[in-house]
Symmetry: C2
Subunit: 257 residues, 2 copies
């Protein structure tokens, strides 16, 4: 058996999320269907770095699977892509050792969240960015981001429906926002993320941006450890699973300003 | 009765084209449904500058309609947008005289066609650009564009299914292509366009770009007046109705390089 690691991108708009569900179009479903074809009908189970919800996109999701086939590494990518629909694409395939696991070996994950911050909505980006016309104080958001960085109990910033047992302590190595024209791009890099954590953090940061909260409220919210302190989880459409890393980063990753 | 002119944008991905059809989701259908609500159920017919096919987008489509209501001009935009789905949006409304007609008063139309010219497809742009991985000679395409400019019989470049009776002579004031990173953007501005004309022109220009044809073939193709001389009509997904003009342009519009 060989273990293959694949980096994949998908447009979440047309999927009922990543995970297989009966009678639903899911990313995992499409991938496993393609792999079953390659394996002459044999069911091949894939493991992902984690699920993504309905409407959430991925630029660099990672999966692995084991195969009895001995196809040369460089032929796998085209073999699978040919069998996938246009909204899922494998960008990289590599053979890995049996000790690699797409979920359990994760060291860091990076998520981006895109906000369209202008008066008029953009019909072409309704599925790809949150339309938010109110004026935003970027400096205040950036100050709030700095309070989120570090190792904290993120209970306040995770879904009350979360099924995670045990610790809700996570380390956020990087949290920032940058303005690019009318876009505001949020970047989060961390050891792991709780359910809905990015969407709840962005919701709180937008509250800071419009002046409903102060950056200094963030440490208070973290200390409260109570999901009810914050407003609703915002749209999945602006959220992208950007990168999954399996190596310890020896120095801080550089983010352009 | 007042006549209102509206400029609208739409993402063509989710529509069975512009024109109303029974049991199909169309742009005209959505607009007329919204207007009927505003008019307490009374059917309001809209007139557009022209139809667009399934999958074709619009940045600046223009429509007009007549209304017995006396809503202030600046309230119309929000009133209609509130009733429209996220993939259609009215960007401008103005009152016009009865002599204005969205279709018959058109002086010039501008279409853009987007091509993604790189090795890897982009899952986020499958509906918004033609994925074309082959390497392209932009200078040759530009030379071919210049042969298309001017007043010609465009029979070779229009659908054989075209129902247009009479002359297929049209004037193309501007035809160009420009490279922006991995994108190739085609721009066409003309007095009018025949059915599928932009998609057939881009198809021929891509043939020139890959070396299957020479720029000098364009005048020969025009002179042949035979649709069969050219390959298939390419995807509607890269096509945008960009702007509709109702005034004679006194000097040539400036296109950035």
């Amino acid at each position: 058996m060989e273990r293959l690691k694949c980096t994949i991108s998908y447009d979440g708009s047309g999927f009922a999320g990543f995970q297989v569900q009966p009678r639903q179009r899911t990313v995992q479903g499409m991938l496993e269907k393609a792999l079953a074809k390659i394996h002459k009908g044999e069911a091949i189970r894939i493991q992902a770095s984690g699920r993504t919800d309905t409407g959430v996109h991925a630029v660099g999701q990672v999966i692995h699977f084991d195969t009895p086939l001995t196809i040369p590494e460089h032929n796998w990518k085209q073999a699978i892509n040919t069998l996938l629909p246009d909204d899922v694409h494998i960008s990289h395939v590599e053979q890995v050792s049996d000790s690699f696991h797409a979920r359990y070996s994760v060291k860091q994950k990076e998520y981006h969240y895109m906000v369209l911050n202008r008066d008029e909505p953009d019909v072409f980006r309704q599925n790809y960015a949150l339309y938010f016309p109110k004026s935003l104080n970027i400096e205040a958001i950036q100050a709030a981001c700095e309070y989120l960085e570090g190792t904290h109990d993120f209970t306040t910033f995770s879904s009350a429906k979360s099924t995670v047992k045990g610790s809700k302590v996570r380390t956020l190595y990087h949290a920032s926002c940058r303005k690019k024209g009318n876009d505001i791009e949020f970047i989060f890099r961390g050891s792991g993320f709780l359910y809905n954590m990015v969407r709840i953090m962005v919701s709180a940061l937008l509250d800071v941006g419009v002046g409903k909260r102060n950056p200094e409220d963030i440490p208070v919210l973290l200390a409260a450890k109570e999901r009810g302190k914050l407003g609703k989880t915002i749209s999945p459409n602006g959220l992208y699973l950007w990168e999954v890393s399996y190596h310890e980063q020896t120095e801080e990753k550089h983010f352009e300003d």
